[in-house]
């Protein structure tokens, strides 16, 4: 391998950023093993009490809830995002292509808080969904959508959709359309050609999209905070509730570390589960 000194110059900004992240992470780790001193900003001596406190069933429940909400979000984002990505790649009309792209990517341009407040207007008892269903006579009483896991997942799917669509579109765009045409020429209908050719070939994109959506959702804060209303909590909400809102930074740090470990563990499991599927995709 030839030595290319200019590479060092290019890599140095990224290396500096990485260094800053490592330093921040080290600070969080250090706080997680320090005692909380009531009424003071300074942490006390070394302790494992913060981690011992996490063994309460409440925290286990919230961690499991977080994983479950992430799975639901990744799954429904895939279901909603795949047709959008497929249409985006295969649409021949430029205007239609642009419309799909705008619809898919717009959520990225809105702040998370603005987006979430909009969902409060849509999901509320007097919101858009309930008003329409009441007027149509489908329901007699408003459905409880706010402060429920269902409402949180709907809003999170909206937040995560652009990531999924972009990743799936990139994967689908790399599939040679001749494969599908070949299947059709051999007698397969469009659905069979899609299920037996396009879908398996897009698996790497699906795996990447699901994994990224999962990790993206794991760190969600404003959406579960506002739509969940304290009744649906994820790890980030616990960090806020128990750490920052009460100045107990050591406990907040231990929650963050536990959340980080859980994220890595779940992502490793996902990776292991996805490995056999990856072999199906194009090599």
């Amino acid at each position: 391998m030839t030595d290319r000194p200019f590479l060092r110059t290019f890599v140095s900004p990224a290396a500096l950023c990485a260094l800053a992240f490592v330093a921040a992470l080290a600070a969080v780790m250090q706080y997680s093993v320090r005692a909380y001193v009531p009424g003071s900003l300074e942490p006390g001596g070394l302790t494992l009490a913060n981690f011992a406190a996490l063994l309460k069933p409440l925290y286990g429940r919230v961690f499991l809830d977080t994983v479950w909400i992430c799975f639901l979000t990744a799954f429904w984002t895939l279901i909603v995002g795949y047709p959008l990505a497929y249409a985006l790649v295969h649409a021949r009309n430029v205007a239609l292509k642009s419309a799909i792209l705008v619809i898919s990517v717009t959520p990225l341009f809105l702040g998370e808080v603005v987006r979430t407040y909009s969902w409060i207007v849509v999901l509320g008892n007097n919101g858009f969904v309930n008003s329409m269903l009441l007027k149509a006579g489908v329901i007699a009483q408003p459905m409880q959508l706010m402060f429920t896991r269902f409402g949180v997942v709907i809003a999170l799917v909206h937040v995560t959709l652009p990531v999924m669509v972009i990743m799936l579109a990139a994967a689908l765009a790399h599939i040679d359309p001749d494969y599908e045409r070949a299947a059709e020429s051999l007698g397969a209908g469009p659905i069979r050609a899609f299920l037996t050719v396009t879908l398996p070939l897009s698996l790497p994109g699906i795996i990447a999209g699901v994994t990224t959506s999962f990790a993206w959702t794991f760190s969600a804060f404003a959406t579960p905070q506002l739509i969940g209303g304290g009744q649906v909590n994820m790890v980030s909400n616990l960090v806020y509730q128990l750490g920052f809102a009460s100045f107990n930074f050591p406990f907040a740090a231990s929650l963050s570390v536990a959340g980080l470990v859980l994220t890595f563990a779940v992502l490793a499991l996902l990776r292991a589960a996805a490995r056999p599927l990856e072999r199906i995709g194009p090599n």
């Binding site: 909380y36 009531p38 009424g39 003071s40 900003l41 300074e42 309460k56 409440l58 429940r61 919230v62 407040y117 409060i120 207007v121 509320g124 008892n125 007097n126 919101g127 706010m146 402060f147 905070q225 506002l226 209303g229 304290g230 009744q231 909590n233 616990l238 509730q241 128990l242 920052f244 809102a245 009460s246 100045f247 107990n248 406990f251």
Partner: protein, 340 residues
């Protein structure tokens, strides 16, 4: 020669400007309407009196606290506004200068409840009390905090998720205790759990949830309720017979500030009775001095205290230092037993 003439002229011009005009006081405050209010009312008066300019550093309570902690000894701001119990965290960490109230003539009229510590004093006050939508919660009067526990309140109540100290103290009081013996109210508070519909995370969230009727009853910041009423939302704010939980925003001088003299003048301007009346009118809160002449329409609002008698009879004061020390414990217990 030309250069010498220029230098002399420049020197003459600069020496003609009062020294104070080149001074600048840095004030740390929450953003939004709080910053605007301080800029338009307090800083305006201060600048008129001293010719010194005011620059603002804005941010959330915790962000500003953290930043000042990191800058200890060489503060980013000269003056900090924060809530009374959070002020104790600054003070305990040696971030505040001890105040010499002899340099703040207007502090003579400070109400007793606003004398928080040797380091920070109150500038205005508000209450957390019961606010409700009479159009959505019919036949409820909320004469007592105990009314929140009524079965017909099931699934209607919201409270702040960032500070449970109000309900923890109230539950303790209803159980024969107080904030210091808050454990007495734990059982009572657990009985309230079915009545919670949600917990709001900030003022905007509180306003939205009561405006759209999602949570028709709230333990609400009085200023928010008055603001929403002004926007046409039919909210009624009540002071229960036990009183309403007092909140005081305070001002302090940062330790290490090189503008302490100006900072004292700023605090004095903040406590000026006319400034206090304007602040009360703008935010619909209580002035921290007793000689402020309030517009009768403002003085008549629930939760606006303009007399010592009102302060003494209607305000439930959670001892600020105790609150600072207990916040984490209360918050953890509330999150573990009520919210989750």
């Amino acid at each position: 020669m030309k250069q010498l003439c220029f230098a002399i002229t420049a020197l003459a011009v600069f020496s003609a400007v009062p020294a104070a005009a080149q001074d600048k006081l840095v004030v740390s405050v929450w953003g939004g309407s709080w910053r605007d209010m301080i800029a338009n009312i307090i800083a305006k008066k201060f600048t008129a009196e001293t010719k010194a300019q005011v620059e603002f550093i804005t941010g959330g309570t915790i962000d500003r606290l953290n930043k000042e902690k990191l800058a200890k000894g060489n503060p980013e701001s000269d003056i900090t506004f924060t809530t009374s119990h959070v002020g104790w965290l600054y003070a305990n960490d040696g971030l505040f200068e001890q105040l010499d109230l002899g340099k703040v003539p207007n502090a003579m009229n400070l109400v007793d409840q606003a004398k928080i510590s040797p380091y920070h004093i109150g500038t205005w006050a508000y209450v957390y009390t019961i606010g409700f939508r009479p159009d959505l919660v019919k036949d409820m009067a909320f004469e007592s905090w105990a009314d929140l526990w009524k079965p017909e309140m099931k699934g209607k109540l919201a409270a702040p998720d960032f500070d449970p100290s109000h309900l923890i103290t109230i539950a303790a009081m209803l159980s024969g205790g107080d904030a210091a013996s808050w454990e007495k109210g734990q059982g009572k508070l657990k009985e309230l759990k079915p009545n919670f519909k949600a917990f709001y995370t900030n003022d905007a969230n509180s306003q939205q949830l009561i405006a759209n009727g999602e949570t028709p009853v709230q333990v609400i910041l009085s200023m928010n309720a008055h603001y929403m009423a002004g926007e046409g939302v039919p909210i009624r704010l009540v002071i229960p017979k036990e009183g309403a939980v007092l909140g005081i925003d305070t001002v302090a001088i940062m330790k290490g500030s090189k503008k302490a003299d100006l900072a004292y003048k700023f605090i004095n301007a903040a406590l000026d009775p006319e400034v206090q009346a304007e602040v009360a009118k703008f935010k619909k809160g209580s002035p921290a001095v007793l000689n402020a002449k309030l517009d009768p329409a403002i003085a008549g609002l629930p939760g606006v205290f303009s007399t010592a008698d009102q302060w003494n009879k209607q305000a439930i004061v959670i001892e600020h230092k105790l609150r600072a020390a207990k916040t984490a414990e209360w918050r953890k217990w509330f999150a573990e037993n009520i919210m989750n």
